[in-house]
């Protein structure tokens, strides 16, 4: 089980440039597999361009109480990158004028940002249609000061999306750390108790599933049905939807793929599962990602690879819808993760 981030361990994969180099050499450099750009060209899509901005995803910091093996953020307790109230205010100013219907807070554990609650209260006043907080669940039970989060979420009508790699203990703890499963179950019960995830409830509780290993996710609907059966019969827990997300070959998951000698096979799986229909709806076409320090990215993955938006406007303080809508989306081989099979996004499959 991991206890420190790649960054803290001074692992070379904490370096975004090193990751991009790995993703461009080997089987891609030799031509054994096509580069993502060539694959796009093969389906008559020479570049990816944004459509209407619908989702503003804000990463309020990389600090987390967990150190999950697959984490693409390389988050953990030792990460000190935290969004300030000043940057939050800049985000609020932008939310007011974007017309995006969804505000999506992520991290790290977003709740660990000291200004998290202030931000939620202020953002709620603006009145976006769907206000998501991506909670890792265990944070709710980690410390007394977080025990009231279910009530806080309810009060502000937050849409809670939580990670859950399996409905059994063994698989969950293997990926996310010992004790995570029991703590997650406890947190889910607390959310159910205030009305989250119950049939017909307006308090939305969705779960995110991502594979705990070097394989692609199966059918989202079938997994949802198995999760629902397992969690209800064994723990009396309910939730609304399951979003299945493919692990992208970056950061700690890339480190795992290389260390376990699965990298080439995994890239083969992603490339073979390339689905042109998924390209049409990849999330970078309707999402903008904001980092803790206010820089703009096409998605949270590009944020971790330090690929800022290719635009004259690169920071939230300079936000300009028009300039950003004319940009070309930055791509590399990690993008195969979002176009495999039924496609993958922070809202699950895309086809």
């Amino acid at each position: 089980m991991l206890i420190k981030s790649l960054k803290k361990r001074e692992n070379e994969l904490a370096n975004a440039r090193k990751q991009l180099k790995i993703l461009s050499e080997g089987i891609f450099e030799t031509g054994e597999l096509p580069m993502f750009s060539a694959q796009l060209e093969a389906v008559n899509k020479s570049v990816l361009k944004p459509k209407t901005l619908e989702i503003l995803q804000i990463n309020v910091g990389y600090m987390c109480n967990q150190v999950c093996e697959h984490c693409h953020v390389d988050a953990g307790p030792d990460r000190k990158e935290i969004m300030t109230r000043e940057t939050m205010q800049q985000c609020l100013d932008v939310i007011k004028k974007t017309g995006a219907h969804t505000l999506d807070l992520t991290g790290g554990a977003p709740e660990m940002n000291p200004d998290f609650r202030w931000f939620v209260v202020e953002a709620t006043k603006i009145g976006v249609k769907d206000f998501i907080v991506r909670s890792n669940l265990t944070i709710i039970t980690a410390n007394k000061k977080y025990y009231d989060l279910p009530e806080f979420f309810k009060k502000h009508n937050i849409h809670v999306i939580s990670s859950m790699p399996h409905w059994t203990k063994g698989k969950t703890d293997k990926q996310r750390g010992n004790g995570v499963f029991n703590a997650s179950i406890k947190a889910l019960k607390m959310l159910n108790d205030v009305g989250y995830g119950m049939p017909g409830s307006k308090l939305k509780l969705d779960l995110v599933y991502n594979p705990s290993g070097a394989f692609l996710p199966g059918d989202q609907a079938a997994l949802e049905s198995d999760f629902k059966k397992g969690l209800l019969s064994d723990f009396d827990i309910q939730f609304h939807q399951l979003f299945s997300i493919t692990n992208l070959p970056i950061s700690r998951f890339l480190d795992y793929l290389i260390a376990s000698d699965n990298y080439n096979d995994y890239m083969y799986n992603l490339v073979e599962a390339f689905n042109p229909a998924a390209v049409e709806n990849v999330m970078c076409t309707n999402t903008l990602s904001v980092s803790w320090d206010g820089w703009l990215y096409d998605c949270d993955f590009n944020q971790m690879l330090e690929l800022k938006v290719k635009s004259s406007v690169q920071h939230i303080s300079q936000f300009n819808k028009e300039a950003l809508s004319n940009r070309t989306i930055c791509i590399s081989q990690h993008c195969y993760g979002c176009t495999a099979g039924a496609g993958s996004s922070c809202q699950g499959t895309v086809t």
Binding site: W167, P211, G213, P217, G218, A222, D226, Y268, E272
Partner: protein, 111 residues
């Protein structure tokens, strides 16, 4: 030529079988695909049957493929090992039940 009869990367080339006889190849892959669709049995149940049979026919390609397929479907290792035991039990039972033939023959030939 490879020095080994089995190369894991050959599994990716399975579809090439159709290159040398398109008609039969296509019929096979159509049939194969249809068999594993949801039906009276779920696709999940069929995946576990396929895993058990993979072991009984001792096909390393099939074992790789259906272990991965099971993981994708969220099938647990407890379910996988029980499926393998079910296959192993039938296979060993198939050997052992021939013991009856041995006993019959023994009794027939003995005074």
């Amino acid at each position: 030529m490879s020095k080994s009869y089995y190369d894991p990367s050959d599994l990716r080339k399975f579809g090439n079988i159709a290159d040398w006889n398109e008609e039969l190849g296509k019929k096979f892959f159509d049939y194969y695909g249809k068999v594993f669709e949801e039906g009276a049995l779920t696709a999940r149940e069929k995946s576990l049957i396929a895993l058990a049979v993979s072991h009984v026919v001792k096909c390393p390609y099939c074992i790789d493929a259906y272990t991965q397929d099971g993981l994708k479907r969220g099938i647990t290792k407890e379910e996988m090992i029980e499926a393998v035991h079910a296959g192993a039990a039938i296979e060993s039972g198939a050997t052992l039940v021939h013991g009856v033939q041995m006993m019959n023959k023994y009794n027939k030939l003995s005074m």
